[in-house]
């Protein structure tokens, strides 16, 4: 009895991770020469680094019991703003700083609407999604900015990294993702803000009655998340050496999906960074592996959706047995 219960609880907590390992071993067996190499793995980390940053900060918002639909269009907007400023001969850091400020401002707007004006996170961030998206198109006049307008160093940054061995380097974008992971980990686990945010997400009314500044915490979480989205947008510009007014739009769904998949990996079904990382890696490995197997990106998309549903369904089924 207790044995099978323990097994069920282990499966629930580590089922998703197990699924991840299964996917990895499948691709390994299919592409033994190219898949399980250091180079390919570093490549995967670079591919997922942008999604990582948004997903990690999204975890923060979701720990607080909210979610944010506007991150994708914020990523597009921040990249676009930086590119337009560079086109106008604004300095490298001036443009980066402005883009991040726009991110912070957008996040504060989300936070005010949700935490202070009491709009549902769905409605508020759906609205700002549309606004940010429109702004990105407006500042760019709908055009892609590329070539000489983007400073060379921006594109070089994503190609650079810390050399590990002959011809192998830890990419700079991966480094950014790792630093955000560590930062968010400390914030969520070891700070007053993070611990209180867990309480707010667990029971808002009880937190309020315990004197926790609920609205302020939620606002800060939204602001951090939006800055995360802005950083992701800039990483995208660096990676592509160009800026397009819709290039970040797909990030939002994948970020929320990663956090959801990750939630299946905690005992209490809470968002958690390790789970989010696993979620991102599942999506990243799937995309990398399927591309190596020359499977259509459209099929990739269908598989991604299925995996999200299966993971969450599985954890719910085993949760119900309790």
């Amino acid at each position: 009895m207790t044995g099978s219960l323990q097994l069920a609880s282990l499966l629930r907590r580590y089922g998703t991770f197990l699924g991840f390992l299964l996917i990895v071993s499948f691709f390994w067996s299919q592409r033994p020469d190219t898949f399980m190499t250091t180079r390919n793995w570093l490549n995967i980390t670079q591919q997922v680094s942008i999604l990582c940053v948004i997903s990690f900060t999204m975890t923060l918002v979701m720990v607080g019991g909210d979610f944010d639909l506007s991150v994708g269009s914020m990523a597009s907007l921040s990249g676009m703003i930086a590119a337009v400023l560079w086109q106008q001969d604004v300095s490298l850091f001036g443009a980066l700083g402005t883009a991040l400020l726009v991110g912070a401002f957008g996040g504060v707007l989300n936070g005010v609407l949700v935490a202070y004006a009491g709009l549902s996170a769905f409605v508020a961030t759906l609205g700002t999604l549309t606004i940010f998206s429109g702004l990105a198109l407006l500042v760019s006049e709908g055009k892609t900015i590329f070539g000489r307008a983007i400073p060379e160093i921006v594109g070089d940054f994503s190609r650079g990294g810390i050399p590990l061995a002959e011809g192998i380097q830890l990419p700079n974008l991966t480094l950014i993702a790792i630093s955000i992971l560590i930062l968010m980990g400390i914030v969520l686990q070891h700070t007053v803000f993070g611990r209180n945010l867990h309480a707010v997400g667990g029971n808002r009314e009880a937190s309020l009655l315990a004197g926790v500044p609920v609205a302020r915490l939620r606002l800060i979480a939204f602001a951090v998340n939006s800055v995360g989205a802005a950083i992701a947008g800039l990483m995208l510009v660096s990676r592509l050496s160009s800026a397009n007014p819709t290039q970040g739009d797909g990030l939002m769904l994948n970020a929320i999906a990663s956090v959801f998949v990750g939630m299946t990996m905690s005992e209490e079904g809470e968002p958690n960074l390790f789970g989010t990382l696993t979620g991102v890696l599942i999506l990243g490995v799937l995309s990398n592996g399927l591309t190596q197997l020359r499977i259509d990106t459209y099929v990739q998309q269908i598989l991604t959706g299925l995996i999200i549903i299966v993971a969450v369904l599985f954890s719910r089924l085993s949760l119900r047995r309790r």
Binding site: I186, H190, T191, V192, F193, R195, N196, H198, A199, G202, N203, E205, A206, S207, L208, L209, A210, G211, V212, P213, E267, E268, G269, E270
Partner: protein, 507 residues
Amino acid sequence: MIPFLHLSNVQKSFGSVPVLRGVELTLFSGEIHGLMGENGAGKSTLIKILSGNLMADSLTCAMNGESLSLAEARGSGKLGMRFIHQELNSIAHLSVAENLMLGKQLPTRAKIFVNQQKLSELTQVALAELGITHIDPKQRMSQLGAGDQMLVKLGSAFVVESGKPAAQLYVMDEPTASLMPSETEKLFEAFERLKQKGCSILYVSHRLDEIFQITDRISVLRDGKNTLAEKTKMLKPRTVVEAMTGREISQHYPGRSGILSKEVLLSVQHLRNAKLKSLNFTLHKGEILGLAGLGGSGRSEVLRTLLGTRNFSGTLTLEGQPWQPRLKKFWQERLAFIPEERRSQGLVLNQTVATNSHLPFIGNFGNFLGLLPKQKLRQKSEEAWSRVRVQGTGITQRIWQLSGGNQQKVLFARATWHQPKLLLLDEPTRGVDVGAKQEIYSLIRQASGEGTAVLMVSSELGELIGLCDRILVLRDGQIYHELQTESLSEADLLAYCQGVRAMESAE
């Protein structure tokens, strides 16, 4: 005379806690039967068994002398029942008619489309039973006041459904709670008409005056047993109150050691808001002051005001200084509060015992970067944990795994974390087993012994009398009595709460 419905030896336990211990209920045709008892006496469990929402562990049922199971009685259609539950839960954006017909078969055209005209007619007929003509069936529920909404809900008991047996038994759980006197009269007239038709009505209420006005017989439950079943005209209000409150096992309440301080901690003057009418009282250091009254008397409203979540006018003084309560500062001012609803208002259920006990205080532990000293925090949580004697595996245990009593003790660990000046308690032993109750009483007394002033709301009159130094009796947002607890009986206190004293002297 053979009863229409006779239930006997009804047994029901939740886990190891017995709630009904061999209860008997006898209902005759054409009678209004009052069911009374304190909170937790087992009234609502009995009603839920009757409605089929709960299964009894065992019971014997007979209808018109013929023995059968309760499920058969319901299934055969002989026992047509209508239930009106206490809570006002209507769906605001649906129409009056739709609310009234909720869960019932809607009249249709061509078996698909809702027949709006027929729907309105049915609604009007049902409402007319209650003498109501001023409510338009097409109106949205949200446009009605609370009283009218309650009338619509009552009306749903009078809907005639085609193809369904006519109702034989009406079960009404405190239907008059939000009605005006004139509306109550209309309801009682409708009861009379049902009685004439031979229906029985099981009427649950805390209002003694109504019970005596309309019922033919009264049953009283206490601690899951019958303590009274008698014709109303043979009874006096006091007899009923005594049947409700007399205890078989007398709780032991820890007494005060030492003399009560004369130092005033909190003084409240002319406190008024939407629900309170000019309250004046003082609270001394180390004193336990009880707030007694029926639901809706304003008891919890006083606590909410002191917590800073209600607007008010009046003068509050804390330790001689003018004081404006504000929720965000509340815990930082060395004040503490334990809410009425433990699970929804008190605890973060998916978190650990430690997190729940230091929730209001972790802001005080962070360094300039907001980083927490884990070791120190753990040590403080351990201290709090051992102070309240929780039975569990440790402070890292998730709180949902603990029993209600132990969860409540964790809230006490939170509330006594900082040796508060003032502790507000709202139903501190609700849903807590007897053993844990005892320990919570000790914790309250211990806090008061350390100088904490306690302001306590409770529906359990025994614990108010046993623990408190003084009791304020509230009715309709006013303080009607200030009582010393020595030689006060539960029956007396209940009578004060219900205003029976006034009723009896008027007799």
